[in-house]
């Protein structure tokens, strides 16, 4: 079966790296890493980038991270990676737009530099993966709902773009887990293409059809913030819960205001730092497992304080 970080057996939590493999080795001065991002139009990727830069400073590596100008320009991203292969990077940190669009780049790079698949879409041929489990993103919200609404209720899922790995896995994790309590029913699961406006419109439609909706689970925060507005406009703020995914700053602000209920934060800055650390360790000769899992947590108003340190 295809490689999936969510189920991969040789997997280690990033927090255990220090304990198992000791200190981070030092690379020769002037070492450069390249980053191929998914896009920069979502804050999540910008945060990941600042994580790279932070990690670079910490471990003495110069990082040069670039992103194609839109999130669905797969050949463009491949060209970008191919172009960056021409430069002398010791490691490439890539976040593919789809599972397969960077495969030739990975193959080509394999001979000269280390390739690290960071987050989200999973290249089946990636030998090293750093990121959180997309599947678990959905699980944590489902678990919360199972715990909070044992008597059941109606739940709607706002999906990302159809066919995209992250959307698929998050939705799957959520639905599979939620199925443990048949009284908690997923009454609708519709795509809004990662788009705030579409999420808003879709949520308004759903709220009219299901006026007593218990909760929305949204595949990312941008959509969740659109849904929050729809919930407000329908006068259901506080009655219909809204959960997002990613943990961008705007989501934190909204939670503080008591609008968004929670977000599954996968700590993009931390993830970026870990990615650099892992690359440095690998180049330093350490034999790490294929998947290094980064932390994630369902952040809500009450537990927010403990996570805000990772926002810087």
């Amino acid at each position: 079966q295809a490689f999936s970080p969510d189920t991969e057996k040789s997997r280690i939590e990033s927090s255990q790296l220090e304990a198992k493999f000791g200190p981070v080795p030092t690379l020769p001065a002037g070492t450069q890493f390249g980053g191929v991002m998914k896009a920069l139009s979502n804050e999540y990727w910008q945060l990941l980038r600042s994580g790279y830069l932070k990690g670079g400073e910490k471990y003495g590596v110069k990082i040069d991270a670039q992103a194609p100008s839109n999130e669905s320009d797969q050949i463009g991203q491949l060209s970008m990676m191919n172009t960056m292969l021409g430069k002398d990077y010791k490691a490439l940190l890539i976040s593919p737009q789809s599972d397969v669009n960077l495969l030739p780049g990975i193959q080509k790079a394999g001979k000269t530099s280390l390739v690290l698949n960071v987050n989200d879409a999973v290249a089946p041929s990636a030998q090293h993966f750093v990121g959180n489990s997309q599947y678990d993103n959905g699980v944590s919200v489902a678990n919360y709902l199972l715990k909070t609404f044992p008597k059941g209720g109606q739940v709607a899922v706002i999906e990302g773009q159809a066919g995209v790995y992250a959307a698929r896995q998050r939705t799957l994790g959520f639905k599979t887990t939620l199925a443990k309590n048949p009284a908690l029913k997923v009454v609708a699961s519709v795509p809004a293409d990662w788009d705030r406006q579409k999420a808003f419109t879709t949520a308004r439609d759903l709220l009219r059809r299901y006026p007593n909706l218990t909760a929305f689970y949204c595949n990312n925060d941008t959509m969740a913030l659109g849904v929050v507005e729809a919930v407000k406009a329908s006068g259901r703020l506080g009655k219909t819960l809204v959960f997002g995914t990613d943990g961008i700053n705007a989501a934190y602000d909204s939670i503080k205001k008591g609008e968004l209920t929670g977000t599954v934060d996968s700590f993009p800055i931390l993830t970026g730092e870990v990615a650099v650390e892992v690359a440095v360790r690998l180049l330093g000769g350490q034999k790490l497992p294929r998947v290094v899992a980064t932390p994630q947590a369902l952040v809500m108003k009450d537990n927010m304080a403990q996570y805000e340190q990772f926002k810087k």
């Binding site: 139009s41 609708a188 699961s189 406006q197």
Partner: protein, 323 residues
């Protein structure tokens, strides 16, 4: 004399028939509404009709009015979504910095006007193809919006602003009212002003109009300015609803608006256009989306159904309207 009489009677009968046929899309809309309300629970509540379909249709309609004007001259404007984003983030930023909302709205509309003006001048003065100009500015304005905000959304707009554009009057949401007023206004402009007539005539044969001694460039430019201002206005309506302005707003608006326009009977070849048609087209597309959501159709099948229904509606329209 008798001859003239009968000729003009027959001609006006022909005109009536033509008008009726143009109502084909309206018929499809009504037919759809009946079928859906019979099969989809809660489809035909007034509330659903107004807020569910109306609101998203309102934004698309406002953009589509501008595109209808542009398309009538034989042009195209791909930059509406980016123009919308740029105006929205600038307007929102100014509000957040404390500018009175009304003033910020005016500035945002002015940004839309300037964006349209640049398109128009490149097209009429430098004589570049509208597709390529607005493809270029679509990218450029998006880049401006993203660098202006550094890619971040602008949150927490003033309540005064949100309530004024996002509120209700007699139970009708303001966006919907605005869209209807604009449809009426731009229909009247098209029918009863020289400007409107020139815009149509230019699409029919720009050279003939030019040789009639008309500065065609001015009117063509005007349509792009209108398109820019309406895109900006649509963006303001949207951010008042969403309570946030983000630089990636408006992605894909051009396609929905062109679709609404074309479904409503505007010809991409120019010279023929119908603002009311754009409204009907936008309503049809929103209704479709609304129904699919209400029915809880799965993502993949939504795509299948959307494609089928768009084409199906056009086939019906084609056969009721005649060749």
């Amino acid at each position: 004399m008798q001859k003239t009489q009968s000729t003009s009677n027959a001609a006006s009968r022909a005109a009536v028939i033509e008008r009726l046929r143009e109502a084909g899309i309206l018929a499809i809309l009504l037919l759809g509404a009946v079928v859906f309300s019979a099969t989809v629970p809660s489809f035909f509540s007034v509330d659903n009709a107004i807020t569910g379909i109306g609101l998203s249709a309102a934004i698309n309609t406002i953009v589509a009015i501008g595109l209808t004007y542009v398309i009538m001259t034989g042009g195209i404007d791909l930059s509406v979504g980016s123009t919308a984003a740029l105006s929205a983030v600038i307007g929102a930023d100014l509000m957040q910095r404390g500018l009175p909302p009304l003033l910020a709205v005016v500035v945002a509309l002015a940004v839309g006007a300037v964006a349209g003006l640049v398109n128009g001048l490149l097209i009429t003065r430098v004589q570049l193809a509208p597709f390529i100009v607005t493809l270029g500015t679509m990218t450029f304005y998006r880049g401006l919006a993203l660098s202006y905000t550094n890619g971040q959304p602008i949150l927490s707009l003033p309540d005064g602003f949100k309530n004024s554009l996002g509120g209700d009057v007699f139970g009708l949401p303001i966006p919907l009212i605005a869209a209807l007023v604009l449809v009426a206004a731009f229909t009247l402009i098209l029918r009863y002003t020289k400007t409107g007539q020139y815009i149509l005539a230019i699409g029919g044969n720009a050279e003939a109009v030019r040789l009639s001694g008309i500065n065609t460039g001015r009117f063509v430019t005007l349509t792009y300015v209108i398109s820019g201002v309406l895109a900006a206005f649509a963006a303001l309506v949207l951010i008042a609803q969403l309570g946030a302005a983000e630089p990636i707003l408006g992605n894909g608006w051009e396609l929905s608006a062109i679709a609404a326009s074309v479904v409503g009977g505007t010809s991409l070849a120019g010279g023929k256009g119908n603002v009311v048609g754009a409204l009907l087209g936008a309503l049809l597309l929103s209704m479709l989306q609304n129904v699919l959501t209400l029915l809880g159709v799965q993502a993949f099948y939504q795509l299948l159904a959307t494609g089928l229904i768009i084409i199906g509606a056009m086939v019906i329209d084609r056969y009721t309207r005649g060749p």
